[in-house]
Protein backbone atom coordinates (compact mmCIF):
# COMPACT_ATOMS: atom_id res chain seq x y z
CA UNK A 1 0.00 0.00 0.00
CA UNK A 2 1.14 3.51 -0.69
CA UNK A 3 0.60 6.46 1.61
CA UNK A 4 -3.10 7.09 2.24
CA UNK A 5 -4.73 9.79 0.17
CA UNK A 6 -5.67 12.89 2.07
CA UNK A 7 -9.43 13.03 2.34
CA UNK A 8 -9.68 15.92 4.76
CA UNK A 9 -8.81 18.41 2.05
CA UNK A 10 -6.57 20.51 4.26
CA UNK A 11 -4.51 22.54 1.77
CA UNK A 12 -1.52 23.16 4.04
CA UNK A 13 -0.84 19.44 4.43
CA UNK A 14 1.22 18.64 1.30
CA UNK A 15 3.62 21.55 1.82
CA UNK A 16 4.25 20.64 5.47
CA UNK A 17 4.88 17.08 4.38
CA UNK A 18 7.55 17.99 1.87
CA UNK A 19 9.34 20.24 4.38
CA UNK A 20 9.22 17.31 6.79
CA UNK A 21 10.99 15.20 4.15
CA UNK A 22 13.72 17.80 3.81
CA UNK A 23 14.32 18.06 7.56
CA UNK A 24 14.43 14.29 8.03
CA UNK A 25 16.71 13.94 5.01
CA UNK A 26 19.14 16.46 6.50
CA UNK A 27 19.11 14.64 9.86
CA UNK A 28 19.83 11.37 8.10
CA UNK A 29 22.66 12.93 6.05
CA UNK A 30 24.25 14.31 9.22
CA UNK A 31 24.02 10.86 10.80
CA UNK A 32 25.63 9.29 7.73
CA UNK A 33 28.40 11.92 7.54
CA UNK A 34 29.21 11.90 11.27
CA UNK A 35 31.92 9.17 11.26
CA UNK A 36 33.94 11.16 8.66
CA UNK A 37 34.60 13.95 11.14
CA UNK A 38 37.46 12.36 12.97
CA UNK A 39 38.41 15.67 14.55
CA UNK A 40 35.23 15.85 16.61
CA UNK A 41 35.75 16.17 20.34
CA UNK A 42 35.05 12.84 22.06
CA UNK A 43 34.77 11.17 18.65
CA UNK A 44 34.55 7.63 20.03
CA UNK A 45 32.01 8.63 22.64
CA UNK A 46 29.81 10.23 20.01
CA UNK A 47 29.97 7.14 17.81
CA UNK A 48 29.26 4.84 20.75
CA UNK A 49 26.29 6.99 21.69
CA UNK A 50 25.08 6.71 18.10
CA UNK A 51 25.48 2.93 18.16
CA UNK A 52 23.47 2.63 21.38
CA UNK A 53 20.82 5.10 20.27
CA UNK A 54 20.26 3.48 16.87
CA UNK A 55 20.11 0.06 18.48
CA UNK A 56 17.38 1.15 20.87
CA UNK A 57 15.47 2.92 18.12
CA UNK A 58 15.52 -0.31 16.11
CA UNK A 59 14.46 -2.43 19.08
CA UNK A 60 11.72 -0.11 20.33
CA UNK A 61 10.36 0.55 16.89
CA UNK A 62 10.15 -3.19 16.31
CA UNK A 63 8.53 -3.85 19.68
CA UNK A 64 5.97 -1.20 18.84
CA UNK A 65 4.65 -3.25 15.91
CA UNK A 66 3.22 -5.86 18.24
CA UNK A 67 3.13 -3.91 21.51
CA UNK A 68 1.78 -0.68 20.05
CA UNK A 69 -0.07 -1.31 16.80
CA UNK A 70 -1.52 -4.71 17.76
CA UNK A 71 -1.77 -3.87 21.47
CA UNK A 72 -0.15 -7.11 22.64
CA UNK A 73 2.56 -6.31 25.17
CA UNK A 74 5.61 -8.52 25.08
CA UNK A 75 7.83 -8.42 28.16
CA UNK A 76 10.11 -11.09 26.75
CA UNK A 77 11.11 -9.49 23.48
CA UNK A 78 14.79 -9.59 24.31
CA UNK A 79 14.81 -13.35 23.67
CA UNK A 80 15.19 -12.37 20.01
CA UNK A 81 17.97 -9.95 20.90
CA UNK A 82 19.85 -12.75 22.65
CA UNK A 83 19.12 -15.48 20.14
CA UNK A 84 20.18 -13.18 17.30
CA UNK A 85 23.39 -12.43 19.16
CA UNK A 86 24.12 -16.06 19.93
CA UNK A 87 23.35 -17.31 16.42
CA UNK A 88 25.66 -14.82 14.71
CA UNK A 89 28.29 -15.16 17.40
CA UNK A 90 28.36 -18.95 17.13
CA UNK A 91 28.56 -18.78 13.36
CA UNK A 92 31.62 -16.57 13.79
CA UNK A 93 33.25 -18.77 16.41
CA UNK A 94 32.61 -22.12 14.74
CA UNK A 95 32.40 -21.21 11.04
CA UNK A 96 34.24 -17.90 10.82
CA UNK A 97 31.38 -16.04 9.16
CA UNK A 98 31.25 -12.31 9.89
CA UNK A 99 28.26 -11.22 11.98
CA UNK A 100 27.79 -8.27 9.63
CA UNK A 101 26.79 -10.83 7.02
CA UNK A 102 24.94 -13.22 9.30
CA UNK A 103 22.98 -10.51 11.14
CA UNK A 104 20.29 -10.75 8.47
CA UNK A 105 20.25 -14.50 8.92
CA UNK A 106 19.83 -13.97 12.66
CA UNK A 107 16.93 -11.63 11.94
CA UNK A 108 15.25 -14.17 9.69
CA UNK A 109 15.77 -16.91 12.25
CA UNK A 110 14.09 -14.72 14.88
CA UNK A 111 11.27 -14.04 12.44
CA UNK A 112 10.69 -17.78 12.11
CA UNK A 113 10.85 -18.22 15.89
CA UNK A 114 8.32 -15.42 16.23
CA UNK A 115 5.91 -17.32 14.01
CA UNK A 116 6.37 -20.47 16.10
CA UNK A 117 5.92 -18.69 19.40
CA UNK A 118 2.96 -16.74 18.06
CA UNK A 119 1.23 -19.94 16.95
CA UNK A 120 1.32 -21.18 20.53
CA UNK A 121 0.67 -18.08 22.61
CA UNK A 122 -1.82 -16.07 20.59
CA UNK A 123 -4.51 -18.35 21.93
CA UNK A 124 -4.19 -16.22 25.05
CA UNK A 125 -5.42 -12.67 25.38
CA UNK A 126 -4.38 -9.66 27.45
CA UNK A 127 -2.66 -10.50 30.73
CA UNK A 128 -2.23 -14.21 29.94
CA UNK A 129 -0.31 -13.30 26.78
CA UNK A 130 2.00 -10.97 28.70
CA UNK A 131 2.63 -13.73 31.22
CA UNK A 132 3.51 -16.17 28.47
CA UNK A 133 6.12 -13.75 27.10
CA UNK A 134 7.77 -13.49 30.53
CA UNK A 135 7.74 -17.28 30.76
CA UNK A 136 9.33 -17.52 27.31
CA UNK A 137 12.15 -15.25 28.45
CA UNK A 138 12.81 -17.27 31.60
CA UNK A 139 12.67 -20.57 29.72
CA UNK A 140 15.19 -19.38 27.15
CA UNK A 141 17.39 -18.07 29.96
CA UNK A 142 17.42 -21.44 31.72
CA UNK A 143 18.20 -23.10 28.41
CA UNK A 144 21.20 -20.88 27.65
CA UNK A 145 22.43 -20.98 31.26
CA UNK A 146 22.64 -24.75 31.02
CA UNK A 147 23.82 -25.24 27.45
CA UNK A 148 27.49 -26.11 27.74
CA UNK A 149 28.15 -25.87 23.99
CA UNK A 150 27.70 -22.08 24.23
CA UNK A 151 29.54 -21.76 27.51
CA UNK A 152 26.56 -21.97 29.87
CA UNK A 153 26.20 -19.07 32.25
CA UNK A 154 29.86 -18.11 31.80
CA UNK A 155 29.37 -17.35 28.14
CA UNK A 156 31.78 -17.60 25.27
CA UNK A 157 34.13 -15.04 23.74
CA UNK A 158 34.34 -14.20 20.07
CA UNK A 159 37.36 -13.18 17.96
CA UNK A 160 37.82 -9.41 17.79
CA UNK A 161 36.66 -7.58 14.67
CA UNK A 162 39.49 -7.36 12.07
CA UNK A 163 39.45 -3.57 11.70
CA UNK A 164 42.08 -0.96 12.53
CA UNK A 165 41.55 0.26 16.07
CA UNK A 166 40.90 3.89 15.16
CA UNK A 167 38.00 2.89 12.86
CA UNK A 168 36.67 0.04 14.95
CA UNK A 169 33.38 1.68 15.83
CA UNK A 170 32.52 2.82 12.33
CA UNK A 171 31.13 -0.45 10.88
CA UNK A 172 29.01 -0.99 13.98
CA UNK A 173 27.74 2.57 13.72
CA UNK A 174 26.58 2.07 10.16
CA UNK A 175 25.11 -1.37 10.85
CA UNK A 176 23.02 0.07 13.68
CA UNK A 177 22.06 3.11 11.60
CA UNK A 178 20.82 0.87 8.79
CA UNK A 179 18.85 -1.23 11.30
CA UNK A 180 17.30 1.84 12.89
CA UNK A 181 16.26 3.37 9.57
CA UNK A 182 15.05 -0.01 8.34
CA UNK A 183 12.93 -0.70 11.38
CA UNK A 184 11.37 2.76 11.40
CA UNK A 185 10.66 2.44 7.68
CA UNK A 186 9.10 -0.97 8.30
CA UNK A 187 6.89 0.49 11.03
CA UNK A 188 5.96 3.37 8.73
CA UNK A 189 4.98 1.04 5.90
CA UNK A 190 2.95 -1.12 8.26
CA UNK A 191 1.19 1.88 9.77
CA UNK A 192 0.20 3.02 6.28
CA UNK A 193 -1.02 -0.33 5.04
CA UNK A 194 -4.19 -2.33 5.25
CA UNK A 195 -2.29 -4.72 7.51
CA UNK A 196 -1.54 -1.87 9.93
CA UNK A 197 -5.14 -0.78 9.85
CA UNK A 198 -6.17 -4.32 10.72
CA UNK A 199 -3.73 -4.39 13.64
CA UNK A 200 -5.11 -1.14 15.02
CA UNK A 201 -8.63 -2.47 14.65
CA UNK A 202 -7.89 -5.61 16.59
CA UNK A 203 -6.06 -3.59 19.23
CA UNK A 204 -9.26 -1.63 19.77
CA UNK A 205 -11.69 -4.52 19.83
CA UNK A 206 -10.71 -7.97 18.74
CA UNK A 207 -14.19 -9.39 18.43
CA UNK A 208 -15.39 -6.54 16.25
CA UNK A 209 -12.26 -6.79 14.11
CA UNK A 210 -12.95 -10.46 13.58
CA UNK A 211 -16.56 -9.76 12.64
CA UNK A 212 -15.29 -7.20 10.14
CA UNK A 213 -13.43 -10.00 8.39
CA UNK A 214 -9.91 -9.60 9.77
CA UNK A 215 -8.05 -12.86 10.31
CA UNK A 216 -6.92 -11.64 13.73
CA UNK A 217 -4.83 -14.70 14.57
CA UNK A 218 -2.79 -14.49 11.38
CA UNK A 219 -2.42 -10.70 11.76
CA UNK A 220 -1.15 -11.04 15.32
CA UNK A 221 1.32 -13.76 14.43
CA UNK A 222 2.59 -11.72 11.47
CA UNK A 223 2.99 -8.64 13.69
CA UNK A 224 4.88 -10.63 16.30
CA UNK A 225 7.20 -12.20 13.73
CA UNK A 226 7.93 -8.90 11.98
CA UNK A 227 8.65 -7.27 15.32
CA UNK A 228 11.25 -9.97 16.04
CA UNK A 229 13.31 -9.41 12.87
CA UNK A 230 15.28 -6.23 13.63
CA UNK A 231 15.63 -7.14 17.30
CA UNK A 232 17.53 -10.22 16.13
CA UNK A 233 19.61 -8.17 13.71
CA UNK A 234 20.76 -5.61 16.27
CA UNK A 235 21.35 -8.40 18.78
CA UNK A 236 23.83 -9.93 16.35
CA UNK A 237 25.61 -6.62 15.75
CA UNK A 238 25.69 -5.71 19.44
CA UNK A 239 27.10 -9.11 20.41
CA UNK A 240 29.92 -8.65 17.89
CA UNK A 241 30.68 -5.16 19.18
CA UNK A 242 31.06 -6.61 22.69
CA UNK A 243 32.81 -9.69 21.23
CA UNK A 244 31.32 -11.64 24.09
CA UNK A 245 28.22 -13.79 24.49
CA UNK A 246 26.74 -14.25 27.91
CA UNK A 247 23.14 -14.88 29.05
CA UNK A 248 23.17 -12.01 31.56
CA UNK A 249 23.94 -9.47 28.81
CA UNK A 250 20.94 -10.35 26.67
CA UNK A 251 18.37 -12.23 28.68
CA UNK A 252 17.76 -9.91 31.62
CA UNK A 253 14.28 -8.48 31.92
CA UNK A 254 15.72 -4.97 32.13
CA UNK A 255 16.36 -5.06 28.38
CA UNK A 256 12.69 -5.77 27.68
CA UNK A 257 11.74 -3.16 30.26
CA UNK A 258 13.69 -0.55 28.34
CA UNK A 259 11.93 -1.34 25.06
CA UNK A 260 8.54 -1.08 26.72
CA UNK A 261 9.50 2.09 28.56
CA UNK A 262 10.87 3.87 25.49
CA UNK A 263 7.79 3.01 23.46
CA UNK A 264 5.45 4.19 26.21
CA UNK A 265 7.35 7.42 26.87
CA UNK A 266 7.44 8.28 23.19
CA UNK A 267 3.92 7.16 22.43
CA UNK A 268 2.82 3.58 21.99
CA UNK A 269 1.24 2.81 18.65
CA UNK A 270 2.70 5.84 16.84
CA UNK A 271 5.51 5.61 14.29
CA UNK A 272 7.59 8.47 15.69
CA UNK A 273 6.99 7.55 19.34
CA UNK A 274 9.71 4.91 19.69
CA UNK A 275 12.30 7.22 18.12
CA UNK A 276 11.40 10.08 20.46
CA UNK A 277 11.22 7.73 23.44
CA UNK A 278 14.63 6.20 22.70
CA UNK A 279 16.25 9.62 22.38
CA UNK A 280 14.66 10.90 25.60
CA UNK A 281 15.41 7.82 27.69
CA UNK A 282 19.02 7.54 26.51
CA UNK A 283 19.54 11.22 27.28
CA UNK A 284 18.08 10.66 30.77
CA UNK A 285 20.28 7.59 31.28
CA UNK A 286 23.45 9.40 30.22
CA UNK A 287 22.53 12.26 32.50
CA UNK A 288 21.75 10.05 35.50
CA UNK A 289 25.04 8.18 35.05
CA UNK A 290 26.84 11.53 35.04
CA UNK A 291 24.91 12.76 38.09
CA UNK A 292 24.59 9.67 40.29
CA UNK A 293 27.08 7.26 38.74
CA UNK A 294 26.00 3.78 37.73
CA UNK A 295 24.02 2.26 40.57
CA UNK A 296 20.86 0.34 41.36
CA UNK A 297 19.08 3.67 41.55
CA UNK A 298 18.98 3.66 37.75
CA UNK A 299 16.31 0.98 37.68
CA UNK A 300 14.41 2.90 40.34
CA UNK A 301 14.45 5.89 37.99
CA UNK A 302 13.23 3.62 35.18
CA UNK A 303 10.35 2.37 37.32
CA UNK A 304 9.39 5.85 38.51
CA UNK A 305 9.33 7.19 34.95
CA UNK A 306 7.22 4.24 33.79
CA UNK A 307 4.67 4.74 36.58
CA UNK A 308 4.59 8.49 36.11
CA UNK A 309 4.04 8.30 32.37
CA UNK A 310 1.32 5.65 32.71
CA UNK A 311 -0.54 7.62 35.37
CA UNK A 312 -0.26 11.09 33.89
CA UNK A 313 0.54 10.77 30.15
CA UNK A 314 -0.65 7.33 29.06
CA UNK A 315 -0.44 8.43 25.43
CA UNK A 316 3.26 9.31 25.66
CA UNK A 317 4.98 12.38 24.24
CA UNK A 318 3.86 12.03 20.63
CA UNK A 319 0.34 10.91 21.54
CA UNK A 320 -0.19 13.66 24.09
CA UNK A 321 1.12 16.37 21.75
CA UNK A 322 -1.14 15.11 18.98
CA UNK A 323 -4.15 15.13 21.28
CA UNK A 324 -3.54 18.80 21.98
CA UNK A 325 -2.89 19.53 18.30
CA UNK A 326 0.68 20.59 19.04
CA UNK A 327 2.61 17.80 17.35
CA UNK A 328 5.25 19.35 15.06
CA UNK A 329 4.80 18.27 11.46
CA UNK A 330 8.27 16.71 11.32
CA UNK A 331 7.20 14.21 13.97
CA UNK A 332 3.83 13.38 12.45
CA UNK A 333 4.69 10.14 10.71
CA UNK A 334 1.39 8.35 11.06
Amino acid sequence: MTAPTDTTGVPARPRRRSSRGVVLGVVLLVAIALPFFRGLPAYNYVLQLGIVLFMWIAMTSSWNIVGGFAGYISLGHNVFYGIGGYLSGLLLVYAGWSPFATAVLAGLFCLALGVGFGLVTFRAHGPAFIISTIALLLMVTIFFDNWEFVGGSNGISMPLPPFPVEWIKVPFYYAMLVSAVGSVYLAYRIAHSKFGLGLRALAQDETKAEVAGIDTRRFKIAAFALSAFFVGVVGAVWAYSLSYLRPTIFFIIGVAANMVLMAIIGGRGTVAGPVVGAIVLIAVNELSVVLFGASELNIVVTGVILLGVLLFFPLGIVGTLREHGKLPAILDWD
Binding site: P127, I130, A135, L138, V300
Partner: protein, 290 residues
Protein backbone atom coordinates in the same frame (compact mmCIF):
# COMPACT_ATOMS: atom_id res chain seq x y z
CA UNK B 1 16.14 -40.13 46.64
CA UNK B 2 13.19 -42.48 46.90
CA UNK B 3 9.81 -41.52 45.48
CA UNK B 4 8.15 -41.02 48.85
CA UNK B 5 10.83 -38.57 49.95
CA UNK B 6 10.55 -36.54 46.76
CA UNK B 7 6.77 -36.53 47.10
CA UNK B 8 6.95 -35.26 50.68
CA UNK B 9 9.33 -32.45 49.79
CA UNK B 10 7.17 -31.53 46.81
CA UNK B 11 4.02 -31.38 48.91
CA UNK B 12 5.68 -29.19 51.53
CA UNK B 13 6.92 -26.85 48.81
CA UNK B 14 3.46 -26.81 47.26
CA UNK B 15 1.93 -25.63 50.51
CA UNK B 16 4.19 -22.58 50.53
CA UNK B 17 3.71 -21.87 46.81
CA UNK B 18 -0.05 -21.96 47.40
CA UNK B 19 0.23 -19.16 49.94
CA UNK B 20 2.56 -17.18 47.69
CA UNK B 21 0.08 -17.45 44.81
CA UNK B 22 -3.11 -16.91 46.83
CA UNK B 23 -2.76 -13.13 47.08
CA UNK B 24 -1.94 -12.86 43.39
CA UNK B 25 -4.97 -14.82 42.26
CA UNK B 26 -7.24 -13.01 44.74
CA UNK B 27 -6.26 -9.63 43.27
CA UNK B 28 -6.88 -10.88 39.76
CA UNK B 29 -10.20 -12.38 40.76
CA UNK B 30 -11.54 -9.29 42.50
CA UNK B 31 -10.04 -6.48 40.43
CA UNK B 32 -8.55 -7.99 37.27
CA UNK B 33 -5.21 -6.65 38.46
CA UNK B 34 -2.23 -8.75 37.42
CA UNK B 35 0.21 -7.72 40.10
CA UNK B 36 3.69 -8.28 38.67
CA UNK B 37 5.04 -6.71 41.86
CA UNK B 38 3.51 -9.44 44.03
CA UNK B 39 6.73 -11.43 44.30
CA UNK B 40 8.67 -8.22 44.87
CA UNK B 41 6.47 -7.64 47.91
CA UNK B 42 7.14 -11.21 49.00
CA UNK B 43 10.85 -10.36 48.88
CA UNK B 44 10.15 -7.22 50.94
CA UNK B 45 8.35 -9.42 53.48
CA UNK B 46 11.36 -11.71 53.57
CA UNK B 47 13.66 -8.77 54.28
CA UNK B 48 11.25 -7.69 57.01
CA UNK B 49 11.53 -11.11 58.64
CA UNK B 50 15.31 -11.06 58.16
CA UNK B 51 15.79 -7.76 59.97
CA UNK B 52 13.25 -8.65 62.65
CA UNK B 53 15.36 -11.73 63.34
CA UNK B 54 18.82 -10.15 63.05
CA UNK B 55 18.13 -6.85 64.81
CA UNK B 56 15.28 -7.63 67.22
CA UNK B 57 15.83 -11.35 67.66
CA UNK B 58 12.25 -12.11 66.69
CA UNK B 59 11.42 -15.56 65.40
CA UNK B 60 9.79 -15.39 61.94
CA UNK B 61 6.57 -16.81 63.37
CA UNK B 62 6.42 -13.86 65.79
CA UNK B 63 7.38 -11.41 63.05
CA UNK B 64 4.47 -12.79 61.01
CA UNK B 65 2.09 -11.11 63.46
CA UNK B 66 3.70 -7.73 62.77
CA UNK B 67 4.35 -8.06 59.06
CA UNK B 68 0.84 -9.09 58.04
CA UNK B 69 -0.95 -6.03 59.49
CA UNK B 70 1.77 -3.72 58.20
CA UNK B 71 1.40 -5.16 54.70
CA UNK B 72 -2.39 -4.96 54.94
CA UNK B 73 -2.18 -1.20 55.56
CA UNK B 74 0.51 -0.78 52.91
CA UNK B 75 -1.68 -2.58 50.38
CA UNK B 76 -4.72 -0.43 51.07
CA UNK B 77 -2.64 2.73 50.76
CA UNK B 78 -1.02 1.56 47.56
CA UNK B 79 -4.36 0.73 45.99
CA UNK B 80 -5.76 4.15 46.80
CA UNK B 81 -2.63 5.80 45.43
CA UNK B 82 -2.36 4.00 42.12
CA UNK B 83 -5.51 2.37 40.89
CA UNK B 84 -8.52 4.70 41.11
CA UNK B 85 -6.82 6.90 38.52
CA UNK B 86 -6.85 4.22 35.83
CA UNK B 87 -10.10 2.48 36.77
CA UNK B 88 -12.04 3.68 33.73
CA UNK B 89 -9.23 2.93 31.29
CA UNK B 90 -10.35 0.74 28.38
CA UNK B 91 -7.24 -1.39 28.72
CA UNK B 92 -7.29 -1.68 32.47
CA UNK B 93 -5.81 -5.18 32.65
CA UNK B 94 -2.83 -4.28 30.53
CA UNK B 95 -2.29 -0.98 32.37
CA UNK B 96 -2.13 -2.84 35.69
CA UNK B 97 0.54 -5.17 34.29
CA UNK B 98 2.69 -2.26 33.16
CA UNK B 99 2.18 -0.24 36.34
CA UNK B 100 3.00 -3.11 38.64
CA UNK B 101 5.98 -3.90 36.40
CA UNK B 102 7.24 -0.38 37.12
CA UNK B 103 6.51 -0.89 40.80
CA UNK B 104 8.51 -4.13 40.80
CA UNK B 105 11.49 -2.33 39.23
CA UNK B 106 11.32 0.40 41.87
CA UNK B 107 11.17 -2.11 44.73
CA UNK B 108 13.99 -4.21 43.31
CA UNK B 109 16.18 -1.14 42.77
CA UNK B 110 15.59 0.22 46.26
CA UNK B 111 16.27 -3.16 47.90
CA UNK B 112 19.45 -3.57 45.88
CA UNK B 113 20.55 -0.03 46.71
CA UNK B 114 20.02 -0.32 50.46
CA UNK B 115 20.67 -4.01 51.14
CA UNK B 116 22.98 -4.92 48.18
CA UNK B 117 22.57 -8.07 46.14
CA UNK B 118 23.90 -10.40 48.84
CA UNK B 119 22.07 -13.74 49.15
CA UNK B 120 20.36 -13.88 52.52
CA UNK B 121 18.19 -16.21 54.53
CA UNK B 122 16.88 -16.26 58.07
CA UNK B 123 18.49 -18.90 60.19
CA UNK B 124 16.33 -19.90 63.17
CA UNK B 125 17.39 -23.09 65.00
CA UNK B 126 14.82 -25.26 63.25
CA UNK B 127 15.98 -24.21 59.78
CA UNK B 128 18.53 -27.00 59.62
CA UNK B 129 16.71 -29.73 61.55
CA UNK B 130 14.52 -32.54 60.35
CA UNK B 131 12.22 -35.23 61.74
CA UNK B 132 13.32 -38.70 60.74
CA UNK B 133 10.38 -41.00 60.07
CA UNK B 134 11.72 -44.39 59.09
CA UNK B 135 13.04 -44.21 55.53
CA UNK B 136 12.19 -40.53 54.99
CA UNK B 137 13.02 -37.21 56.60
CA UNK B 138 10.78 -34.17 56.99
CA UNK B 139 12.62 -30.83 57.25
CA UNK B 140 11.18 -28.93 60.19
CA UNK B 141 11.36 -25.49 58.57
CA UNK B 142 9.46 -26.65 55.48
CA UNK B 143 6.92 -28.47 57.61
CA UNK B 144 6.22 -25.46 59.82
CA UNK B 145 6.03 -23.11 56.84
CA UNK B 146 3.69 -25.40 54.99
CA UNK B 147 1.42 -25.92 58.01
CA UNK B 148 1.27 -22.17 58.64
CA UNK B 149 0.39 -21.65 55.02
CA UNK B 150 -2.44 -24.19 55.28
CA UNK B 151 -3.77 -22.46 58.41
CA UNK B 152 -3.67 -19.04 56.74
CA UNK B 153 -5.38 -20.34 53.61
CA UNK B 154 -8.09 -21.96 55.69
CA UNK B 155 -8.53 -18.67 57.50
CA UNK B 156 -8.87 -16.90 54.17
CA UNK B 157 -11.41 -19.47 53.01
CA UNK B 158 -13.45 -19.08 56.19
CA UNK B 159 -13.30 -15.29 55.89
CA UNK B 160 -14.58 -15.40 52.31
CA UNK B 161 -17.35 -17.89 53.22
CA UNK B 162 -18.53 -16.60 56.56
CA UNK B 163 -18.28 -12.83 56.81
CA UNK B 164 -20.25 -10.08 55.13
CA UNK B 165 -17.08 -8.58 53.67
CA UNK B 166 -16.19 -12.04 52.40
CA UNK B 167 -19.57 -12.34 50.67
CA UNK B 168 -19.04 -8.94 49.11
CA UNK B 169 -15.57 -9.92 47.87
CA UNK B 170 -16.92 -13.10 46.31
CA UNK B 171 -19.80 -11.22 44.73
CA UNK B 172 -17.33 -8.75 43.22
CA UNK B 173 -15.25 -11.64 41.91
CA UNK B 174 -18.28 -13.15 40.19
CA UNK B 175 -19.59 -9.99 38.62
CA UNK B 176 -18.36 -6.53 39.39
CA UNK B 177 -21.27 -4.62 37.92
CA UNK B 178 -23.94 -6.84 39.42
CA UNK B 179 -22.26 -6.57 42.82
CA UNK B 180 -22.44 -2.81 42.54
CA UNK B 181 -26.10 -3.01 41.60
CA UNK B 182 -26.98 -4.97 44.73
CA UNK B 183 -25.24 -2.40 46.90
CA UNK B 184 -21.65 -3.58 47.29
CA UNK B 185 -19.22 -0.71 47.61
CA UNK B 186 -16.83 -2.05 44.99
CA UNK B 187 -14.20 0.60 45.60
CA UNK B 188 -14.04 -0.28 49.30
CA UNK B 189 -14.04 -4.00 48.58
CA UNK B 190 -11.20 -3.56 46.10
CA UNK B 191 -9.18 -1.61 48.66
CA UNK B 192 -9.72 -4.25 51.34
CA UNK B 193 -8.92 -7.07 48.91
CA UNK B 194 -5.70 -5.36 47.90
CA UNK B 195 -4.82 -5.11 51.59
CA UNK B 196 -5.57 -8.81 52.09
CA UNK B 197 -3.58 -9.77 48.99
CA UNK B 198 -0.66 -7.79 50.28
CA UNK B 199 -0.92 -9.25 53.79
CA UNK B 200 -0.76 -12.70 52.17
CA UNK B 201 2.36 -11.59 50.26
CA UNK B 202 3.90 -10.42 53.54
CA UNK B 203 3.06 -13.71 55.22
CA UNK B 204 4.50 -15.67 52.29
CA UNK B 205 7.66 -13.55 52.44
CA UNK B 206 8.08 -14.29 56.15
CA UNK B 207 7.77 -18.03 55.51
CA UNK B 208 10.11 -18.17 52.52
CA UNK B 209 12.71 -16.14 54.42
CA UNK B 210 13.88 -19.28 56.23
CA UNK B 211 13.26 -21.93 53.57
CA UNK B 212 14.79 -20.17 50.52
CA UNK B 213 17.67 -17.79 50.02
CA UNK B 214 16.58 -14.43 48.70
CA UNK B 215 18.09 -11.34 47.09
CA UNK B 216 16.49 -8.31 45.39
CA UNK B 217 16.29 -9.79 41.88
CA UNK B 218 14.90 -13.10 43.13
CA UNK B 219 11.35 -11.91 42.60
CA UNK B 220 11.49 -12.40 38.80
CA UNK B 221 11.93 -16.14 39.23
CA UNK B 222 9.18 -16.27 41.82
CA UNK B 223 6.65 -14.19 39.94
CA UNK B 224 7.15 -16.32 36.83
CA UNK B 225 6.53 -19.48 38.84
CA UNK B 226 3.49 -17.99 40.56
CA UNK B 227 2.01 -16.76 37.31
CA UNK B 228 2.53 -20.17 35.73
CA UNK B 229 0.69 -21.91 38.50
CA UNK B 230 -2.23 -19.51 38.63
CA UNK B 231 -2.62 -19.78 34.87
CA UNK B 232 -2.70 -23.57 35.27
CA UNK B 233 -5.22 -23.33 38.11
CA UNK B 234 -7.29 -20.69 36.37
CA UNK B 235 -6.63 -17.00 36.99
CA UNK B 236 -8.77 -15.65 39.81
CA UNK B 237 -9.55 -19.05 41.30
CA UNK B 238 -8.22 -19.71 44.81
CA UNK B 239 -8.92 -23.41 44.54
CA UNK B 240 -7.04 -23.40 41.24
CA UNK B 241 -4.05 -21.65 42.82
CA UNK B 242 -3.81 -24.28 45.54
CA UNK B 243 -4.23 -27.23 43.19
CA UNK B 244 -1.82 -25.69 40.66
CA UNK B 245 0.74 -25.02 43.38
CA UNK B 246 0.67 -28.53 44.80
CA UNK B 247 0.67 -30.31 41.43
CA UNK B 248 3.48 -28.24 39.96
CA UNK B 249 5.58 -28.22 43.11
CA UNK B 250 5.47 -32.02 43.23
CA UNK B 251 6.22 -32.24 39.51
CA UNK B 252 9.15 -29.83 39.83
CA UNK B 253 10.54 -31.81 42.77
CA UNK B 254 10.64 -34.91 40.59
CA UNK B 255 12.26 -32.98 37.73
CA UNK B 256 14.80 -31.57 40.17
CA UNK B 257 15.59 -35.03 41.53
CA UNK B 258 15.72 -36.91 38.24
CA UNK B 259 17.08 -34.35 35.75
CA UNK B 260 18.75 -31.67 37.87
CA UNK B 261 17.79 -28.75 40.09
CA UNK B 262 18.57 -26.09 37.46
CA UNK B 263 15.87 -27.56 35.22
CA UNK B 264 13.16 -27.58 37.92
CA UNK B 265 11.73 -24.15 36.98
CA UNK B 266 11.22 -25.45 33.44
CA UNK B 267 8.34 -27.56 34.82
CA UNK B 268 6.35 -24.43 35.56
CA UNK B 269 6.93 -22.79 32.21
CA UNK B 270 6.22 -25.95 30.28
CA UNK B 271 2.96 -26.30 32.23
CA UNK B 272 2.15 -22.68 31.40
CA UNK B 273 2.55 -23.20 27.66
CA UNK B 274 0.65 -26.46 27.65
CA UNK B 275 -2.18 -24.80 29.56
CA UNK B 276 -2.32 -21.91 27.13
CA UNK B 277 -2.40 -24.31 24.19
CA UNK B 278 -4.89 -26.84 25.52
CA UNK B 279 -7.13 -24.91 27.89
CA UNK B 280 -6.32 -21.19 28.12
CA UNK B 281 -8.71 -20.60 31.00
CA UNK B 282 -6.95 -23.15 33.22
CA UNK B 283 -8.38 -25.86 35.42
CA UNK B 284 -10.93 -23.89 37.43
CA UNK B 285 -10.91 -20.50 35.73
CA UNK B 286 -13.58 -18.58 33.96
CA UNK B 287 -12.93 -17.27 30.46
CA UNK B 288 -10.00 -14.83 30.74
CA UNK B 289 -10.95 -11.25 29.95
CA UNK B 290 -10.08 -9.98 26.55
Amino acid sequence: MNELQVLILGLLLGGVYALMASGLTLLFGVMRVVNLAHAAFIVVGAYGAYFAFELLGLDPFVALGLIMPAFFLLGMGLYRLLFPRIEGSPRFGEMTVLMTFGLALIIEGLLAFYFTGIFRSVDPPYATQAFILGPVFVPRAQLYASLTSVVLLMGLWAFLRMTRTGYAIRATMQNRVAAQVVGVNVRRISTVSFGIGMALAGAAGTLVSFIFTFFPARHWQWIAILLALIVLGGMGSLKGAVVGAVVLAVASSFVSDRIGPTWAPMTFFAALFVTLMVRPRGLFGKEIDR
